[in-house]
Subunit: 285 residues, 2 copies
């Protein structure tokens, strides 16, 4: 995700200093016009707005608060925008650490995946103070088509977790529906065309049902990352004493697929959980 | 549903003979220009195409195969179109009974609910033979905007069950997402607006999220009828040896709400299951 996002920042005329543990990602960004940062600390000492996009909270903690981290380099008044999808509780912790150094913090996770990162049309869900967002807005608008302030720090990730629960629901139910239809002898493509215009219609159905019955599970959104989001949703829910039976079930289904080496498939491959239970494969007739 | 459907048939110029166990429904249709049928048998003896729209398979069986039923009155070459949402196994049984009398049968359940029944824009999912559908098509087109032949008898109801599983998934996950967001202090209307344009977008989300955070659960689609559909999906799945963990969970959630007198609420009120677990109410801020 960082690669297309940095390209869009360069395209909008920003000076961009990049760092990544994968050298080829840095080379790629440098070839596109970015400057090389030696460490998160080095990047932060050379920029006013520091954007992080990482797999999970442990990575963000390391990059912000670890040795040679962002907070060793960032000047007072700098803004850290963490665009990773992490637990909102982690966002609040990062914000407090930034505040201790006079640095402002926004959590700003995104929806839309790599295709919308490339197009610069991500949906960006922001948590933080309005006046901080006002300063960061042009940078975010270079990467996304909608930027929504959802509340104080952590709210962006609460909204992202809500988003991921809904996407999981739409995928799990689509999988069970297509498995039942296939097993009962109805072509899944016929089902798709009959129901997509009605109340069952969804962005997931339009984007993912053809992937399922064409057996094309190239990601898109990976099962391993979606599982992480649901796990974060369950941890967050637990901290509020909120039981989420469906989310829990969906996370366990994803976990089972990760355990059988399917974590890097698109999350539409969640249909394989039900297929395995039913011993049937959803394929167009 | 029968009332607006008969009005649309009258509007398309058909002679319509009606029967219902609710006298006010018959009076209403007669006032709109229909003829009164004394029994299903009487209706069948006066028409070539007999349409049934009933709560579940036991009602259809009574109307078709019971005393004074359709099959006592229908002539050879008549067509029975059962537009009820029932188990596909039941549809196959009704078809066999019709065949024994030289009567053709289509299962043709619908999606869209009363609003689309009134507009004549139902999505109609048909199971049966192409040449029977060819004869019945103008009648169906007077009630629906899309008429899809999905396969042999029973396929219409397989498709409808698949539809209802997907709608249930979208509703259950939306409920958990909004409960978590609300409990974590984010306004559910803000969440709705932030995510509806992304991968979480769906017809359910657009139609039902505002009902949830406005606390308006006037149906629309009733929990009691949706529960029946999921129960039929589970029976059908069981007949094929297909486990459907999500569908089973959703059916049980709906059953719990029926047990606490909420079966007549719109199915978006399924959010109340999670609200009760979490002791929180989803309301806009």
């Amino acid at each position: 995700m960082g690669r297309p996002m940095s390209r869009n920042l360069l395209g909008a005329g920003y000076k961009v200093v990049v760092h990544d543990i994968a050298p080829e990602s840095v080379e790629n960004a440098v070839a596109a016009g970015a400057e090389r940062g030696e460490s998160p600390k080095d990047v932060a000492s050379r920029t006013d707005i520091i954007v992080t996009m990482l797999p999970d909270a442990a990575d963000v903690e390391q990059v912000l608060m670890g040795p040679d981290g962002v907070l060793e380099g960032a000047g007072r008044g700098a803004i850290v925008i963490d665009m990773s999808s992490v637990s909102p509780i982690a966002s609040q912790k990062f914000s407090a650490a930034c505040e201790g150094k006079g640095v402002d913090f926004l959590d700003a996770p995104v929806s839309g995946g790599e295709p919308k990162a490339i197009d610069g049309t991500l949906a960006i869900m922001v948590g933080g103070r309005q006046e901080v967002l006002d300063q960061a807005l042009p940078v975010l608008q270079a990467m996304g088509s909608t930027v929504t302030l959802t509340g104080p720090v952590g709210s962006g990730n609460v909204t992202k977790l809500a988003n991921q629960i809904m996407v999981a629901g739409n995928i799990v139910a689509m999988g069970e529906a297509l498995v039942l239809a296939t097993r009962a002898g109805v072509d899944p493509e016929v089902v798709f065309n009959a129901v997509r215009v009605g109340l069952a219609g969804s962005t997931v159905l339009d984007a993912k049902a053809p992937m399922v019955y064409s057996r094309d599970f190239k990601p898109g959104g990976r099962i391993s990352l979606h599982e992480k989001d649901l796990r974060n949703a369950l941890h967050t829910a637990e901290s509020f004493g909120v039981p989420l039976p469906f989310t829990s079930m969906a996370q366990q289904m994803m976990r089972a697929l990760i355990n059988t080496s399917r974590g890097d498939l698109d999350h539409s491959a969640l249909v394989q959980f039900t297929e395995q239970l039913a011993q049937v494969e959803v394929k167009k007739g």
